[in-house]
């Protein structure tokens, strides 16, 4: 039955070696192969389909802050592995390997800096560090950042990119929801603005704490935002989920986001909002 055999020479796949590692990136929205330097210039937004590709805290910091103004703090805070947690690997080993691989000590980078000349305190989560999961370190660093904002009277911004609380620290991770939310309640007593920026993905305990508590909640387009994961919901209700479920546009249309902002406009729109809150209206003379 020779005629059923594929003629390999005719449909041989393109040689992958033609695309050197790191120079080209495939858009996970439309599949387009894009030159990395071009994508960098576009802040990792696909110019073909507008997909906002996932980026790290370093990229966000580089384009949100006025050049050279960002100063990191609490960089050395590290997990203490309070439960001596064993999964397939021990948490200690997994954590150490992730620190080595990413160059970060945990899933959030905190610092002060200027956005269009306005002082802010910002916490930027990083999905590359164990899925941006929130454990004791993330909670502690965010709590400290909120306290810096409280003391200095500067606006607070938290950019979320997180699958939720970190299982390896058990109930201590859960308590970080309460710890961060209660610090935000304290910040609110001074009427200091807090802006929450939700990126893909923001789910679980992160959504159920600071990410949903902004005076203004901003999301990037088409980000997955929710409490329970889509798979769990599908299993629970035993039916397919509607198109666009738990995406930014869906969450905005159900009333939980103030706006969806394109990455190219993010800095300017945040600056405008900060300026609005700072602005003093003329006082009428009696």
């Amino acid at each position: 039955m020779d005629w059923f055999k594929r003629k390999r020479s005719v449909i041989a796949p393109q040689d992958r070696k033609d695309v050197p590692d790191g120079l080209w990136i495939k858009c996970n929205g439309c599949g387009e192969i894009i030159y990395k330097k071009e994508l960098e210039k576009k802040l990792y937004v696909c110019s073909n389909c507008n997909t906002h590709l996932r980026i790290g805290s370093d990229v966000y910091i580089s384009f949100l802050f006025d050049e050279g103004t960002f100063k990191e703090f609490a960089k050395e805070v590290k997990s203490a592995d309070p439960l001596n947690f064993k999964d397939v690997k021990s948490y200690k080993d997994k954590y150490a390997a992730t620190v080595k691989k990413t160059g970060f000590n945990d899933a959030v980078v905190c610092g002060t800096g200027k956005i269009e000349k306005q002082n802010v305190v910002m916490a930027v989560m990083d999905f590359r560090f164990m899925g941006g999961s929130m454990g004791s370190v993330v909670g502690e660093k965010i709590a400290r950042a909120i306290d810096v904002a409280y003391k200095k009277g500067w606006p607070m911004i938290i950019l979320s990119a997180s699958g939720g609380a970190r299982m390896h620290e058990g109930v201590l991770s859960l308590m970080q929801l309460a710890k961060t939310s209660s610090r935000l309640a304290r910040l609110a007593t001074k009427n200091i603005p807090y802006i929450s920026v939700l990126t893909n993905p923001t789910t679980g305990g992160t959504t159920a704490s600071y990410a949903m508590l902004g005076d203004v909640n901003i999301a990037e387009p088409d980000a997955l935002i929710g409490f329970a994961g889509p798979r769990v919901i599908k299993q629970t209700i035993g039916q397919d989920l509607p198109p666009g479920f738990q995406r930014s546009e869906f969450v905005r249309d159900h009333g939980f986001l103030d706006m969806i902002v394109h990455r190219h406009e993010l800095k300017q729109r945040i600056a405008n909002i900060l300026d609005f809150f700072k602005h003093k209206n003329p006082v009428a003379k009696a």
């Binding site: 590290k78 439960l83 308590m175 939310s181 990410a211």
Partner: protein
């Protein structure tokens, strides 16, 4: 409820129950035949008591999780009817509906008028459907907040009874902002100017539990569990096998003594031997005693200091190095 004729027996309890039944049989036989078996019966009763003590004082974490989920375990309404002299349920979140999985109400406990609230599970299929297995929708958290703010307005302490396998992971729950509802509660509970006592009476699963779990005192029943995710959920994600739940319960350290060690829980409330379902009255008595003790301590603290202490309490939670 804790009716021994139809007792639900967990796997690890079987040897104890077998001995208990043998004693019962011997007693019946002795009575009907008139044979004097007093000595043998006594010996077997002693043996049963020894075994009971041995089994229940060496429970693994997973066995405790099973006790926390025991179908005859007392639920929120059971405790309310035992510990309060007056209870008037308040319904509805005033926005959307009344969540039957989380009940709230006005109550009197001893000399205190308080607001009491908690998740409610069902005992059979019909009541479980009504109660949604104790899994609240956003409306439940919003009702809880409404009633807690009512308590604050009139200076009443708040008692929360936590018993949930989690916030409901449903389509409508997401559409109506499950995450926002929980986050809002954490935010607002941290600054309510009245004493808040939280008691984990059964299951404390994740954000669904914490959504009514921010307070000045966190108390926990001896056989309750509380963690960031259920042992099954953890096992399914980390080992891709929910049958590894017993290992996950060990790894995550989910029991009351664990939470005391981790400085999350202030006090463990002892349960009757074999679990609260074996003796509701004495379990409820212990809960009431503990609540009153803490109310007496908290009522003396001025509200600004109370809020500052609550903030500090949660700020200390976690473990990190630098």
């Amino acid at each position: 409820m804790a009716n021994n004729t139809s007792k639900f027996v967990l796997e690890f309890e079987k040897p104890v129950v077998e001995l208990e039944e043998k004693v019962k049989e011997m007693k019946e036989y002795a009575l009907s035949s008139g044979v004097d078996m007093a000595e043998d019966i006594e010996r077997l009763e002693e043996k049963t008591a020894d075994l009971r003590k041995q089994v229940y004082s060496n429970l693994t974490r997973w066995q405790k999780v099973q006790l926390a989920r025991h179908p005859q375990r007392p639920y929120t309404l059971d405790y309310i009817s035992e510990i309060t002299d007056y209870f008037e349920e308040l319904h509805g979140d005033r926005y959307y509906s009344d969540d039957k999985a989380l009940i709230t109400g006005l109550a009197k406990i001893d000399k205190y008028s308080v607001v009491i609230l908690g998740q409610q599970k069902g005992r059979d299929t019909k009541s479980n459907i009504l109660r949604n297995f104790g899994m609240s929708n956003p409306e439940g958290y919003r009702k809880a907040l409404r009633v807690m703010q009512l308590a604050a307005k009139f200076g009443k302490p708040i008692i929360t009874l936590i018993d949930t396998p989690g916030a409901y992971p449903g389509l409508g729950a997401e559409e109506r902002g499950q995450a926002e509802a929980i986050a809002k509660n954490l935010f607002e509970m941290s600054r309510l100017p009245v004493p808040i006592i939280c008691v984990i009476i059964g299951e404390g699963a994740s954000g669904g539990a914490l959504g009514i779990g921010v307070g000045d005192r966190i108390l926990m029943m001896e056989n309750a569990w509380y963690s960031v995710i259920s042992p099954e959920g953890c096992a399914a994600i980390l080992w891709r096998d929910s049958a590894k739940a017993p290992e996950a319960a060990e790894s995550m350290k989910v029991t009351a003594p664990d939470l005391v060690d981790l400085e999350i829980v202030d006090e463990v409330i002892k349960e009757p031997q074999g679990g609260a379902h074996n003796d509701l009255q004495s379990a409820a008595k212990a809960v009431k005693k503990s609540i009153i003790k803490h109310l007496q301590e908290l009522e003396k603290i001025p509200s600004d200091k109370l809020i500052a202490q609550r903030l500090e309490k949660f700020d200390k939670m976690g473990a990190w190095e630098e």
